[in-house]
């Protein structure tokens, strides 16, 4: 393998990995604070992508406005989902909420089919993100530069929010103990809504980025990213935001390099992700970043 080709594979891996990382952050943040695996996370990606698509297609507004609308709408939807599907179950066993999350996921997918239709829609990628640059024999699409930057910025922003702000402090308190924190004068409902709002907003950013990299929208488009990024979050140590980013990069690079070095195994790319999940669960169930830091989130 030439150096050029290896670099090309690395670029492709980082590009895919940063996308996984971006989506995994939202997953892990909601888990870290609420101990709930929000299985509808992947479907919020889908909703965000369709909102961005339709706001350009129907109202022909500029793309950056459509992205903002997609994020805001998805945040609102996330909060609404929490209020209607998770909040009534807050005192029930955790498994009940998990099943409710799976139900929400199916509801969103099937609503997607009814409202948006089953045929794939082409996502219009703004030129800014679709230009191809050739640097030292390596071809890079400009979106590849944006995704890691956005991921890192959001990661830092999130760490700041959780560790340095009052809301963040409240989030950490709620993560430790609902009842006690409400006794301490924290509006638990508000904090949980905020968590879901931020988590859904992250999903929306992920969804918009995903559809710019893979400009094809179908109502089930969130399933695979949802699963893969869940794996990334678990690998990194679910509940740990930095871990999710590491897990995402690991998964993306692993998938690409597996095919790069062993092309005969290309059909087993998805299996790689799941094997990684099984191995992590067997060897280090708390993930790479471990439980200790996860507690802090």
């Amino acid at each position: 393998m030439t150096l050029e080709l290896f670099l090309q594979h690395m670029v492709n891996g980082i590009s895919l990995g940063s996308l996984y990382a971006l989506i995994a952050i939202g997953y892990t943040m909601v888990y870290g604070i609420l101990r709930l695996i929000n299985f509808a996370h992947g479907d919020l990606i889908m909703i965000a992508a369709y909102i961005a698509f339709y706001s350009v297609a129907i109202f022909s507004i500029p793309w950056y406005l459509s992205f903002i609308i997609a994020v805001l709408f998805t945040m609102a939807l996330g909060i609404m989902i929490e209020r209607s599907a998770y909040k009534p179950l807050r005192s029930s066993p955790r498994i009940t909420v998990l099943i409710s999350a799976i139900g929400v996921s199916f509801l969103l997918q099937n609503l997607g089919i009814v409202i948006f239709g089953g045929r794939p829609k082409p996502f219009q990628v703004p030129e800014l993100f679709s230009k191809v640059y050739e640097i030292a024999g390596v071809n890079i699409v400009s979106i590849t530069f944006f995704i890691p930057i956005i991921t890192i910025v959001l990661l830092l922003g999130l760490i700041y929010l959780i560790n340095k702000t009052k809301v963040g402090m409240a989030m950490r308190a709620v993560a430790k103990d609902y009842d006690t924190s409400s006794l301490m004068g924290i509006d638990v409902n508000k904090i949980i809504s905020t968590t879901f709002g931020v988590g859904s907003g992250l999903a929306a950013v992920g969804g918009v980025m995903w559809s710019m990299k893979f400009p094809q929208l179908i109502p089930f488009m969130g399933v695979i990213p949802g699963l893969k990024c869940f794996i990334a979050a678990v690998v990194g140590g679910i509940g740990n935001i930095t871990g999710a980013v590491i897990g995402g990069f690991l998964l993306g690079l692993g998938e690409i390099l597996l095919v790069a070095f062993l092309p005969e195994l290309s059909g087993y790319r998805d299996a790689f992700a799941f094997i990684l999940l099984i191995l992590i669960l067997l060897l280090k169930p708390t993930g790479i970043m471990g439980e200790k830091i996860a507690e802090k989130v």
Partner: protein, 395 residues
């Protein structure tokens, strides 16, 4: 707090009711002729199972358009109305088996049309065979759909021929000596077609090593850069990439983004508007084989089909629409000849189909239940599928 909870509940309920209304509207359209159900004996039901949602939705939708047009133009047989019962197989093999079981057991259809995608037809095969309900596939090209199954027929050619056509194109038109294959490994159609292409290409070049790379991907995959690099690394003159239209469009797009400018060719599944919309400029020059072209009407029925199709849908028909139309006509003619709605008798008449004038050519079914037909080669030019050549089966 209480107020908020109630608010949320009201929101949820509104949401659900809204979704029910929307769903209800969608359902109503399909079941419009329900009133006639009361007079069941007056209606002959033909089942249609196609991918209406998920990965292959566009293929199914186009095929159904053709079938519905045929139903509009020829709504009756034996003095009774023909009612189409459309079932969605959700682009999934398990759902395909479920959909066909429902058509057979619950809807009591006398014959079945479908499905786009050989995998789904193959999943349905044992069910139609067991229940003795004849099925006619419109565009499923894998030989295993009809092989060993007396109840499955098709109105299109099969993949050994299509693989030959594309291997010949690669060898003679592109001048390729080495080829790489990128196939959708979870799709029986793509796996079969890749094999037939390889066999013929090796025969043509006389070099058993002329297939220099062979990489796979899964249905619904969206990231292909590693596979593309692995294929390009072997330095092929052409890449053969049989698979679903959306994945294929993304493959070509990503290949061009990665600076890979090797010609990429494929099979009949590429002929969907989504291939052009998603692929955009990247798919310019992509070449594939298919069944039919609206540029060269083959029969009188083709002319009728083209005129009526343009009138009804206001666009150019795809090949699979013409084939769906033909599948319906073949079944209708068989019911007429059988003079009965007994599925076994209908099956016997379908098997005897000879020199039947369809929209996508003359249909004569061989002993396997396959139609022997010419193939058409199309190329993407200026965002449109442009007719290139016709290849006769004798070649």
């Amino acid at each position: 707090m209480m107020f908020r909870k109630r608010n949320a509940l009201i929101l949820l309920v509104t949401f659900l009711i809204l979704s029910l209304i929307v769903a209800g509207c969608g359902g109503n359209k399909k079941e419009e002729p329900k009133k006639e159900d009361t007079e069941t004996s007056e209606v002959i039901k033909i089942g249609v199972f196609e991918p209406m949602t998920n990965a292959n939705a566009a293929g199914g939708a186009m095929e159904v358009e053709g079938i519905q047009l045929a139903n509009d133009l020829y709504p009756e047989v034996l003095g009774k109305k023909i009612k189409l019962v459309i079932a969605d197989n959700k682009s999934d093999k398990v759902e395909a088996a479920n959909a066909v079981t429902r058509l057979v057991e619950k809807e009591k259809v006398v014959a079945i049309i479908g499905s786009w995608g050989s995998s789904f037809s193959m999943a349905a095969g044992p069910i139609v065979k067991e229940n003795k309900i004849p099925a006619v596939a419109a565009s499923a090209t894998n030989p295993l759909v009809t092989k060993g199954n007396d109840y499955y027929f098709r109105v299109c050619f099969i993949d050994p021929f299509q693989g030959k056509v594309m291997a010949n194109y690669a060898f003679n038109q592109i001048g390729a000596k080495k080829a790489a294959i990128i196939k959708e490994v979870s799709n029986d159609y793509a796996v079969g077609l890749a094999k037939f292409f390889s066999d013929e290409f090796v025969k043509l070049t006389g070099d058993p090593k002329s297939i220099v790379a062979n990489v796979d991907y899964q249905t619904n995959d969206q990231e292909f850069s590693a596979q593309l690099q692995a294929a390009a690394q072997a330095n092929p003159d052409v890449i053969f990439a049989p698979g679903n239209f959306t994945e294929s469009a993304l493959i070509i797009k990503q290949a061009r983004e990665q600076g890979i400018d090797i010609p990429i060719i494929g099979g009949d599944t590429w002929e969907a508007p989504e291939f052009l919309q998603i692929g955009g400029e990247a798919v310019e020059g992509a070449v594939f084989s298919t069944f039919f072209t609206s540029e060269v009407p083959i029969t009188k029925e083709s002319e009728k089909f083209l005129a009526e199709y343009r009138k009804k849908y206001n666009e150019e028909p795809s090949s699979v629409a013409a084939l769906g139309y033909d599948a319906y006509l073949v079944i209708r003619a068989a019911i007429e000849k059988a003079g009965s709605t007994d599925p076994v008798k209908i099956r016997d008449e379908i098997a005897k189909t000879k020199d039947f004038v369809g929209a996508a050519g003359i249909i004569t079914l061989d002993e396997n239940g396959d139609a022997v037909k010419s193939a058409v080669i199309k190329k993407v030019e200026n965002g449109k599928f442009v007719y290139q050549a016709t290849v006769e089966p004798s070649k």
